[in-house]
């Protein structure tokens, strides 16, 4: 029984991770409509309830930059070198499309849940 409980909590964690993965991309793109560096971005996401660790955020930022959705620049601020990111024009377009998709999924899901609760 204990194994079963442990197994189901593991399954839940994995499913939550899968669910979060796509949402994080949208959240990061949305946050970077205004320029930010890694730590402030992480902090802003955490303040809004999306905690993300360094090991997840920085590879994601690199991937989005390689895909041309973000632009980055090293700049000195408060006597320290920081890498600032912001959304590229292509990223802005993709974000709009992703948000449309998100709204469509959300509407479908709500409809399904309403039907199920009847």
């Amino acid at each position: 029984m204990a194994n079963g409980t442990q197994g189901s909590s593991e399954i839940l964690e994995n499913l939550k991770l899968e669910l979060r993965r796509g949402c994080l991309i949208v959240a990061v793109l949305a946050q970077l409509r205004t320029e930010q560096y890694g730590y402030t971005l992480r902090k802003a996401l955490a303040d809004d309830g999306l905690v993300i660790d360094e090991g997840t955020l920085y590879p994601l930022l690199r991937r989005l930059e390689t895909q041309g959705l973000l632009v980055s620049q090293w700049r000195e601020e408060d006597k320290r070198n920081k890498r600032f990111y912001h959304l590229s024009p292509a990223g802005d377009l993709i974000l709009k499309q992703l948000l449309e998709e998100w709204e469509s999924i959300n509407a479908s899901l709500n409809k399904i849940l309403q039907e199920a609760s009847l």
Binding site: Y39, Y58, P59
Partner: protein, 357 residues
């Protein structure tokens, strides 16, 4: 400077960050924009610490810094998360890799080593079975390792050079093989035929001593069974009875899906043991005529001696062929039985086809 002063403590803490970043760098792949990543991670850590220090109203000491770094994770783990996702063979190629590996190792290498290299080793070791088996399995073991290594290397090269292979494979849904029926449930017709054939076989075997022409044909006029065949006659009759009981149970209890597979395997093993003893008996008591001998009336006829020799050689080849065929059959039956057990334990419920509900 006093080593325990606040300045010294802050310096020690900053030193700890540099040491941590150096350890992370060690685990990062050299080509993966190492400096960039380390600088960004360092900046993140320093910003985190700065925030905490402002919140607490004092500088961090070494212990507090160590706690922050510990929360971040071990350098190896952090580097693993920061670095590129690495795998030898990706998910697109892996099913093909697994299929090729199984085909080459289980269906090519194992039979080649057991049925070709095995007899060669037996001949080279002067008929010493134990030594031949040990040598064959030793060679098989190293052969499997080398083959698995080469296949993995080839697939790793394909993975590196063509990562889009999985999406480029052309396939046609109309050419997919038809749905396989459940092979485990024996058909009534097959079970009936098997039962009838086993009755016929047993009756034939029981009549052979009285009517030798049933096995020797016209040659029964001048040939008769050698003492060796008399010795093995009863075990062969018993095995035929076992086969008859087996087919009767299969017919009477079709719901015992495990029974045909297991009983067939046991029957093959018993048959192999019997044939092995027969071959051993021929080897230990070498005779030009181990299976059939001439009738007393024609014992000295050169013509019949030649025919008897040919018949004996033919039977010997048949026995050796039967032993080889049964060995292969026993391996296949073992595999099928293990697959049956695995399917039974892994999927207790049969998936209903779409539209069958």
């Amino acid at each position: 400077m006093n080593p325990s002063s606040p300045d010294s403590s802050t310096q020690n803490a900053a030193d700890l960050i540099d040491r941590y970043l150096q350890a992370v760098r060690f685990w990062l792949p050299k080509s993966h924009r190492q400096d960039d990543l380390i600088a960004e991670l360092g900046e993140d850590l320093r910003s985190q610490i700065e925030d905490k220090e402002t919140e607490l109203g004092h500088g961090f000491d070494k212990t507090e810094m160590a706690a922050i770094l510990k929360r971040c994770g071990s350098p190896m783990m952090v580097a693993g998360r920061l670095g590129p996702q690495r795998h030898l063979i990706g998910p697109a190629l892996f099913p093909i890799y697994e299929f090729v590996l199984k085909m080459v190792l289980l269906w090519i290498l194992v039979p080649v080593f057991v049925f070709i290299l095995g007899p060669v080793n037996l001949a080279n070791n002067g008929g010493n079975w134990a030594l031949a088996v040990a040598n064959t399995f030793g060679d098989l073991w190293s052969g499997l390792f080398i083959a698995a290594g080469i296949i993995t290397l080839v697939f790793a090269i394909i993975e590196r050079t063509n990562t889009h292979l999985g999406t480029e494979i052309k396939w046609d849904p109309l050419k997919l093989p038809p749905v396989q029926k459940d092979k485990r449930k024996p058909s009534l017709l097959k079970a009936l035929c098997e039962f009838g054939f086993n009755i016929f076989g047993l009756v034939w075997l029981l009549l052979v001593p009285t009517y030798p022409f049933l096995i020797l044909g016209p040659a029964a006029a001048f040939l008769k069974a050698a003492p060796l065949l008399h010795t093995f006659y009863i075990p062969f009759v018993l095995l035929s009875v076992v086969a008859l009981i087996r087919s009767a149970v299969t017919l009477a209890r079709p719901q015992w899906t495990w029974f045909p597979l297991l009983s067939q395997l046991l029957h093959s093993v018993l048959m192999l043991i019997l044939l092995r003893y027969m071959i051993q008996a021929i080897t230990h008591a070498p005779s030009a005529f181990p299976f059939v001998v001439l009738q007393d009336a024609v014992r000295d006829s050169a013509k019949y001696i030649k025919i008897a020799a040919i018949v004996n050689v033919s039977i010997l080849i048949s026995v050796a062929g039967a032993w080889l065929g049964l060995s292969i059959a026993a391996i296949v039956q073992t595999w099928e039985f293990l697959r049956y057990l695995r399917n039974r334990t892994s999927s207790p419920r049969q998936i209903a086809p779409i539209g069958a509900q």
